[in-house]
């Protein structure tokens, strides 16, 4: 049997309450979000605990259940979208609980802020490369408390000192090794013992880890190679209908005419739902629904945003960015230092709107009834989704049942609940469950985009080329102001300036500010790497410009400014060494470097490119050095470095969403280009091992790669790329 029960489509799941799931027999462990409190772990007989009581008393944020058969179930607070979190979090638990990784079953957690909050994000969201960082201590503590209880139960039965017993692979042994009891046999008894305070429970010295730090196998691989894995889009329910949807091509527009009759003549079409902002055709299957949608020949009234264009958005950013913004950092006297500098460098950088274009198109299945709303979806934000649906339906939150799923690529898109909200609005008109699926075109044209940013920078260098003044103004949409308003104080969006306000370099006089400019007719949101994806490109390009102005080698120049920052210096040195920095290259080949501190990790990359005479950029090799402190699974990190790098590189080479007449001009993978296998460079990962606190990994390589590549293009051609995506026309051989 599969240890991962995510393949099961539980037919009567609707009837099975969380309460029933948590009740039953065996040992149930909860763990608190910080791991700091003495009561951060509790244990109880599973039969006596119900979720809300537990939440009130201990505020734990996760559940581990050991049942009498010995099965260990971890109810996973974070969602799996490819980043490997179901494996890494299971490893944290298994290490201290002393069970084998394949003894752990994983279940998706339902929305519950009190139980499953991510302590770094402050909400039950999967994002910000924060999962391992947030659960590193609490999950190990929970495992340790569980192990101690199980050992104590065995010792009691044998009438020996627990200190003489040990646990291994889910079995407790006595001193001689002749007596042994499995965790399943001990679970009930363990649950009745007094719980040791988590703070008193000793955690392993990292040098004694047997699982953490190893290339353990992913727990979700086997179901993903033979079609068994279930994503939200795979939901099937008795009586379920499937809906294709057309959303107004212009934000704020409305359907003007809908040929409902024509749609209904299509075999298999059952219903046309017109909710003004969108039209859905509900059918027995998606093939009929799509055909019906086409037959409906919808025309639209564009509304107020029918004239939105990229040119106007950029013009607005150019104007607004001339005015001062909310100050993120102000050290020294930049004005004076700039005026007295021996040399001044100025630049404007721009990065485009980006779609997420995850492989699994947006979809959501809803069954709305009078007193409840059941939802099947893959979401990075289950509690936000639940609240929005409660608001929309007028039902209490407890009546909104969300079943999370494996996500076929998140990248930040599923932090937004717009797809679920739309599906619920449609479901209001449908009797029985309905699965709403967006076409790829709808998915790309109605995304919530990474904002377009325009940055103005100035620096002053002294006679030796050292930067004595640095100013950086960022202008663009504030995702944070909409998504987490309390985090924005005095107009300063901490995400928009992340990795710009605190560059890793020694800069005695620095001024960084943010000008919020919201483009009309465009929805913006989180995109893999969040703030740093934009800022590291800008900062690392600009520091490269300064190195050039100072007539210094880009690596040596950076090293000269990192004397105070040994971890940044170490990743830079490692990447440069492994990449063979400084060794000769043919004409129109070049190497570029970038350095980053973000998500609690230090990263450096060296890219090697070849720029053809016609401007075509071939990225040949990327060397990545990463110091993410103590790490859980080096194989997952390597996979994230490979994949995260390609995600960022795809955007640097191809990614751009543009607007004309209020409409997105791209629509599918032929106009919003993904990277394909024949374009992929070799990505090498060099991991630094140390005892620092764990850092995030999933987004680091995405954020850092663009600058490494554009700096390499500069080395190859002498042309500085100051806006993305890379315009190959500007890189043609001296024309």
């Amino acid at each position: 049997m599969d240890r991962l029960i995510l393949t099961e489509q539980i037919a009567d799941e609707t009837a099975m309450s969380r309460r029933a799931l948590l009740q039953g027999t065996g040992l149930l462990l909860g763990f608190a979000l910080t791991g700091a409190s003495t009561e951060s772990v509790f244990a109880a007989p599973a039969s006596q605990v119900v979720e809300n009581e537990v939440a009130g008393t201990f505020a734990p944020n996760g559940f581990i259940r050991i049942n009498p058969t010995g099965a260990v179930t971890l109810i996973m607070p974070m969602v799996e979208m490819g980043q490997g979190v179901y494996t890494s979090l299971s490893m944290l638990l298994a290490e201290e609980l002393e069970v084998k990784l394949d003894q752990i079953q994983v279940q998706h957690a339902p929305p519950n802020h009190a139980l499953y909050v991510n302590s770094i994000i402050g909400i039950q969201n999967t994002g910000g490369s924060a999962s391992v960082r947030a659960f590193w201590t609490p999950l190990r503590q929970a495992g340790s408390v569980g192990r101690n209880l199980l050992i104590a139960a065995a010792a009691k039965r044998w009438n020996v000192d627990p200190a003489t017993c040990r646990a291994k692979d889910g079995v407790v042994f006595d001193a001689s090794g002749s007596k042994h009891l499995s965790y399943g046999e001990l679970a009930e008894a363990a649950a009745k013992l007094p719980v040791p305070p988590a703070a008193n429970v000793k955690l392993k010295n990292p040098k004694d880890f047997i699982l953490i730090g190893t290339r353990a196998k992913r727990v979700d691989s086997s179901i993903k190679v033979d079609g068994r894995a279930l994503y939200g889009i795979d939901t099937r329910l008795p009586g379920m209908k499937v809906a294709a949807v057309a959303i107004s091509p212009v934000l704020g527009g409305k359907a003007k005419t809908v040929d409902e009759k024509a749609a209904l003549t299509v075999k298999g079409v059952r219903q046309v739902v017109n909710i003004d902002e969108a039209v859905a055709v509900v059918a027995d299957h998606m093939g009929a629904a799509k055909k019906g949608l086409e037959a409906a020949a919808i025309t639209w009234d564009d509304g107020p945003n029918g004239k939105v264009s990229n040119a106007d958005i950029v013009k607005q950013l150019e104007e607004e960015s001339k005015k001062p913004g909310a100050v993120a950092r102000n050290v020294g006297d930049v004005g004076k230092a700039l005026a007295e500098a021996a040399q001044r460098v100025d630049a404007i950088y721009q990065v485009p709107f980006l779609a997420h274009a995850a492989m699994e198109p947006m979809n959501c299945t809803v069954h709305l009834q009078k007193d409840r709303c059941d939802i099947w979806v893959g979401t990075q934000a289950p509690t936000i989704t639940q609240s929005l649906v409660a608001e929309l339906t007028g039902l209490p939150k407890e009546a909104i049942k969300i079943r999370n799923h494996l996500i076929g690529g998140g990248f930040g898109r599923r932090l937004e609940a717009d797809g679920t909200v739309l599906a619920v609005k449609i479901a209001k008109h449908v009797d029985g469950p309905v699965k709403v699926i967006w076409s790829r075109e709808e998915d790309i044209q109605h995304d919530m985009y990474r904002p377009y940013y325009l940055d103005r920078l100035s620096a002053g260098l002294d006679a030796a080329g050292k930067p004595v003044a640095w100013t950086h103004r960022i202008a663009g949409s504030s995702v944070m102001a909409r998504y987490y308003p309390p985090y924005v104080k005095d107009g300063l969006d901490p995400d928009a300036v992340e990795a710009a306000a605190e560059p890793p370099y020694a800069l005695a006089n620095i001024h960084v500010d943010f000008v919020r400019v919201e483009p009309a007719g465009v929805r913006t949101s989180w995109w893999r790497g969040v703030g740093p994806t934009h800022n590291v490109f800008v900062v690392e390009s600009f520091i490269d410009e300064l190195a050039h102005a100072a007539k210094q080698d880009p690596v040596a120049y950076r090293k000269g400014l990192l004397g105070h920052n040994p971890r940044a210096l170490a990743v830079l040195s490692l990447a440069a060494e492994k990449a063979g920095w400084g060794s000769p290259l043919p004409a129109r080949h070049g190497r570029g470097v970038s350095v980053q501190f973000a998500y609690g990790s230090y990263t450096s990359q060296v890219a090697e490119v070849e720029v053809a005479a016609d401007g075509f950029v071939k990225v040949k090799r990327i060397v990545c050095a990463i110091d993410c402190g103590m790490y859980v699974n080096p194989d997952t990190i390597e996979a994230q470095v490979q994949g995260g790098t390609l995600f960022g590189l795809t955007a640097a080479l191809h990614g751009s969403i543009t607007f004309k007449d209020g409409r997105v001009e791209q629509s599918n993978f032929d106009s919003y280009l993904p990277m394909r296998i024949d374009e992929v460079p070799v990505v090498e990962t060099h991991l630094i091992k140390n005892a620092e606190a764990p850092g995030g990994v999933g987004e680091a390589p995405t954020a850092i790669v663009s600058a490494a590549v554009t700096n390499a293009i500069f080395a190859a051609t002498g042309r500085r790329v100051r806006s993305l995506p890379i315009d190959t026309n500007s890189l043609k051989s001296s024309s």
């Binding site: 993903k224 190679v225 027995d284 093939g287 492989m359 024949d678």
Partner: protein
């Protein structure tokens, strides 16, 4: 219209319009959800299945074009030696991330190895460049195909 489809060795009766893509017949009518919807325009390969051993994009394959050809999907590719070898290699090299595109990747790779048991890098590029992976697992896909092929 009624059609009898031979899928993974069994016959299935379906009653749909002839222009309905095979993809939706598999997923929605027959409940075989291993074959994925990605783009609807044969641009991403997520929906790849075999028709008489050839890799085709099921989103652009009309059901009335299938006739009595044998359709193989990801659910049954492990019964073929190339499919089994690829699935094993996928696991050994830990290829998957989100996993959504991997059904199509494996189906394309299985068709490649059937015709070209020892593919070169260029042959892998040619056979696999129609399959998009947004997680960026390409480096491992390439390595796993070689691993399965023993090259």
């Amino acid at each position: 219209m009624a059609f009898t489809l031979k899928i993974n060795g069994s016959s299935h009766e379906v009653d749909v319009d002839g222009d309905i893509p095979l993809l939706w017949v598999l997923r929605d009518v027959l409940g075989m959800t291993g074959t994925k919807f990605g783009c609807g325009q044969a641009l991403c390969g997520a929906c790849t299945v075999h028709v008489d051993g050839q890799a085709v994009r099921s989103c652009q394959t009309r059901v009335d074009s299938v006739g009595d050809s044998a359709v193989t999907t990801i659910e049954a590719i492990g019964r073929a030696p190339q499919g089994a070898a690829l699935q094993k290699a996928w696991l050994e090299l830990e290829v998957v991330q989100c996993g959504y595109c991997q059904s199509g990747q494996i189906m394309s790779a299985a068709a490649l190895l059937k015709d070209t048991p020892k593919p070169t890098d260029d042959e892998i590029d040619a056979a696999m460049s129609g399959n998009v992976c947004r997680c960026g697992t390409y480096q491992r896909i390439r390595a796993a195909i070689k691993h399965a092929a023993g090259v």
